[in-house]
Amino acid sequence: MTGSPLIEVEDLRIDLNDGSRCVAAAEGISFRIDRGETFGLVGESGCGKSITALALIGLLRQPLSIGGGVIRFEGREIQQLSAAGQRELRGNRIAMIFQEPMTALNPVSPVGRQIAEMFVLHKGKSWREANQLAVEALASVRVPAPERRVKDYPHQLSGGMRQRVMIAIALACGPDLLIADEPTTALDVTVQAEIIELMRNLCAERGTAILMISHDLGLVANVCRRVAVMYAGRIVEERGSADIFRTPSHPYTQGLVASLPRLGSRAALGRTRLKEIAGVVPAITSFPDGCRFNPRCTRATDICRTAAPDTTWLGPGGFVRCHHHA
């Protein structure tokens, strides 16, 4: 908790510019992740969580760009770094794993070579050494018979195995931060649990911080110590993951928690409907004034329709942005 944070985001705004007009796809994004910490970013599709992650590694491409704010990695501003400096960070200090292990691996290259390339690229190893390290990396993600598997092509591996390979590639250079963007969405439920467990253990062993991005509040709260909930381009609540389940404060978070099926509840037994949040997420070009959740919120009053709510601190490290928070 003390000392300088690993990565710090301050008042980040991401612009979407289609040539004729410019809208903020995300704004007022602030959070910090300490060394070895696990932090989750939760929200629906299109709420801005993935573009926030891309902004962290300096990979926003047209029509998206950083419109304001500061991102610091170990105190250095990422936007100030040269292209080569940013590239040096990527893969080496900050690594990322993706949603689709099917497409994130090069289909014409053996997986061992793809792992080995990281050692050659970032650690200046020879190919001979790198190939040896690749076998060890595969063994560390518990792929059986790694010395044979390194010669396999991605299409010869199952989805779970491919995601293991992705994790091996991402953790090859011992990064300080691992960004996991929906890492298990494309996998079977039973494999999901294994992959999450593997990722969490490896990162804990090596002191790698995790930024986990998902729409699955339950999954994120399970992996992460702290969770930020995003809605329509803004962080609406940030809490410890135990608190967010016990005492959700923002009406949106309350809706998310209430909509999770619980073992033994009447809804899970099929006797009543699962709770839902009425309405749909507003389009990026037509965010409502004031609090962006107001059209769907049961507690909305006049002030919610005119003024964006300020940050209210709820104990150390937790806050909510709502005029009528619980």
Binding site: I57, R87, A95, L105, N106, S109, H155, A170
Partner: protein, 273 residues
Amino acid sequence: MKLRANLIIGGALFALAILVGLLAPWLAHTDPVLDANLLNAEEAPSWTWWFGTDDQGRDIYSRVVYGARISLTVGIVSQLINSVIGVGLGLSAGYWGGWWDDFVNGLTNLMLAIPSLIFALAIMAVLGPGLTSLLIALGLTNWSFTCRIARASALSLKSQGYVQAATVLGYGDLRIMITQLLPNMLGPIVVIGTLGMGSAVLSEAALSFLGLGVRPPFPSWGSMLSDARDQITTAPWLSVFPGLAIFLTVLGLNLLGDGLRDILDPQSRSRRT
């Protein structure tokens, strides 16, 4: 299994042509240039003169065998130059986009607008006839299709997950192009390359026929055809055999290209495993 027939017949014909070229000194009966003997002029094909002799008494069989060297050198080398230029321009244009893409596109359109044989003729006119200028002329004029295909592949490949993943993992532009994009577009490029070799062999024949290719007395299939046109009624074997050699080589290359396209298609590859 009909895919395999293409590949095997095409590959065999092309391999045969290469083998003939490589082993020419052992296969030829006489020296293709020096062994002229007017006493044997215009002999019809026989057991002594397999493909007959020309008006200077040179053995056509030996000249066809040696001609393979020049025709195949021209086909392979000029197509290699084309592939390197086309892939280099197309890949970088598709990947980088922007003004470079516009520039390369403009250049490609320009190349496509001018018939490549006419353009090659113009280059030959400047450089003068000869094997080197032939290679340069054909190597600089047929890269536009390769370029188009490389650019289109790069455009579609660069949005693939693994290319983005490579960016995220800190790969530089050049490394992404060489390790991620190039291997994934190699299939169509190789196919276009073999088809292009066939058409380069034909272009060599055409240019030599027009007297701009390989200088006499050195034999290339095209120049032999060119020399034979006056005697096509009196000594048809002079044009038939070099023509047959061109036909079989180009046929082989086209079949090979077709066969390669079938096995290099990633879909059919994953079906096999």
